[in-house]
């Protein structure tokens, strides 16, 4: 019996298990999925929790609901990969040999990387919204808050879901407007980037939206430390920004298991061929999603598009054929902008986000780089699509390769 091991049962690992079990013969291929957590989190929903739009129960379901029959699932921690011996060591000592390995262990926030961040104010006046606990703690804080300085900060690049802190700022503007205290809330968006976003056209559109909503952008700010006494964030070149409440995207790093395996870069992401998605150092290892170091967004849409490529190339590798599928870095992000509206951006390694319509040229129904109600409905509907179609690895009406049709350059 030959063996495929999938590490991580998040968005990527779950899709791969579903795709592979459908095509690989059960008498020839044994598929094992390992994840320490039994709960699947709908991470795009975390953003809505602080504003009371979703609660904890809206974003969690058991992982077992989405993994197919005929796959071994082990809910245990991973100690390390031993790539030269083609095996994975689990916590507790179990050894899993493999013929092929898919690493989909993602990225996580690592507040310990920044001095003073996880200190006395953590989850009291300093919050993340990348964990359910952080998002729920912030919800409780906002319920009684009467206003002051709200600082939204990004500690380091890259980070998961690059538009999330922008959406958070837009939603905060809308939330405090609806409460009637927007004039008492001062919102600053403090970023290491030179502007609102990296890509020029999107940066301009999003920068204008921030300005329109009276959100101050403080660019080129590279976070060194958080001062809990003075309540300021401090950069390496000694700028200080004072806050009453700090909402932060902490430094993102790959899973600590990657470091124990000696397979990561300085942020614990795995060096990966950006086209074939094969590990640069080990032929029989593929890296899917946020765990890799490929130069595109760390986001669910990217994982979904990349899963097509990993699937095709893994099947080719099994059959000893050349790896023909090439990932183009395709990313597609809804951007909630508040007051029931939203925007969408669609881009890849070579093409920056452009205005136009999506997915049907000239028809839409979604407007790229436009701020519309229809785009917001897309995001609302997406949660249903995620649970029922995407995770199961079923066909979606969107091509995994980006298309220029419908875009205006």
């Amino acid at each position: 019996m030959k063996k495929i091991v999938i590490l991580g049962a998040g968005t990527g690992g779950t899709i791969m298990a579903n795709k592979l079990r459908k095509v690989l013969s059960r008498s020839e291929w044994d598929i094992t999925v390992v994840d320490k957590d039994k709960t699947h989190y709908y991470q795009p929903g975390f953003l809505f929790i602080p504003f009371g739009i979703y609660n904890r129960n809206d974003v969690i379901k058991p992982k077992s609901d989405f993994l197919p029959p005929g796959v071994n699932v082990l809910y245990t921690g991973i100690d390390r990969i031993e790539p030269n011996d083609q095996q994975v060591l689990l916590e507790g000592g179990q050894v899993l040999p493999y013929d092929f390995l898919v690493v989909a262990t993602g990225t996580n926030i690592n507040p310990d990387e920044t001095p003073g961040l996880k200190d006395q104010l953590w989850h009291k006046e300093i919050f993340d919204f990348y964990t359910v606990d952080g998002a729920v703690a912030l919800r409780e804080f906002f319920r009684d808050w009467e206003g002051g300085r709200l600082v939204v900060n990004i500690a380091e690049l890259p980070f998961k879901c690059p538009v999330a802190p922008l959406e958070f700022s837009f939603l905060a503007d809308a939330y405090f407007s609806e409460l009637g205290i927007r004039d008492k809330v001062d919102i600053s968006f403090v970023t290491p980037l030179p502007g609102a976003f990296t890509k020029p056209k999107a940066s301009q559109m999003l920068g204008e939206l921030l300005e329109e909503k009276n959100i101050r952008v403080i660019p080129d700010f590279y976070l060194e430390s958080v001062d809990n006494e003075k309540k300021v964030i401090r950069s390496y070149d000694e700028q200080e920004v004072p806050f009453d409440v700090l909402t932060i995207v902490p430094v993102n790093t790959g899973d600590p298991m990657v470091e124990r395996s000696g397979m990561g870069d300085d942020l614990n992401f795995i060096p990966t061929d950006k086209y074939t998605l094969q590990s640069k150092h080990h032929e029989n290892i593929f890296v899917l999603g946020d765990a890799s170091d490929i130069p595109t967004s760390k986001a669910g849409s990217v994982v979904h598009f990349a899963s097509e490529v990993v699937y095709e190339n893994l099947v080719s590798a099994i059959e000893n054929r050349p790896l023909k599928a090439q990932f183009d870095g395709h990313s597609n992000c809804y951007i909630e902008t508040g007051h029931g509206k939203g925007s969408i951006i669609d881009f890849n390694y070579d093409t920056e986000p452009l205005p136009g319509t999506f997915p049907l040229p000239g028809v839409g129904p979604f407007g790229l780089l436009q701020n519309t109600k229809m785009n917001h409905y897309g995001k609302v509907l997406f949660r249903w699509i995620y649970w029922h179609i995407l995770l199961k690895g079923k066909e979606m009406p969107i091509e995994s390769q980006m298309t220029m049709a419908g875009k205006k350059s």
Binding site: F197, T198, D220, D237, D266, P295
Partner: protein
Amino acid sequence: MSQKTLAGKTVEVTDEGYLQDHNQWNEDIAKALAEEEGIELGEDHFKILHYLREKYEEGANLTIRKVGKSGFTDIKGFYKLFPGGPLKKASKIAGIPKPTSCV
């Protein structure tokens, strides 16, 4: 894209003043580029410039954090040597392309 004379040598540069070909670089060109940024290069600067060039040639993603872990300086020291945008300025002076921040 345009041509520019630096330290007596004609080189191709981008609109933002980054060298088109990092092989046209030498230490005198670095000094001329640094002068435009108001920086006088010393030994500590050159250690970082050579480190950046070496990593660039290896195809690594360059980040401020990576330079901070290089052993030649820490992040604070990097800001002191190249004030303002240390990675952008140091890359320009090292003759390598403008760093792309990927999110």
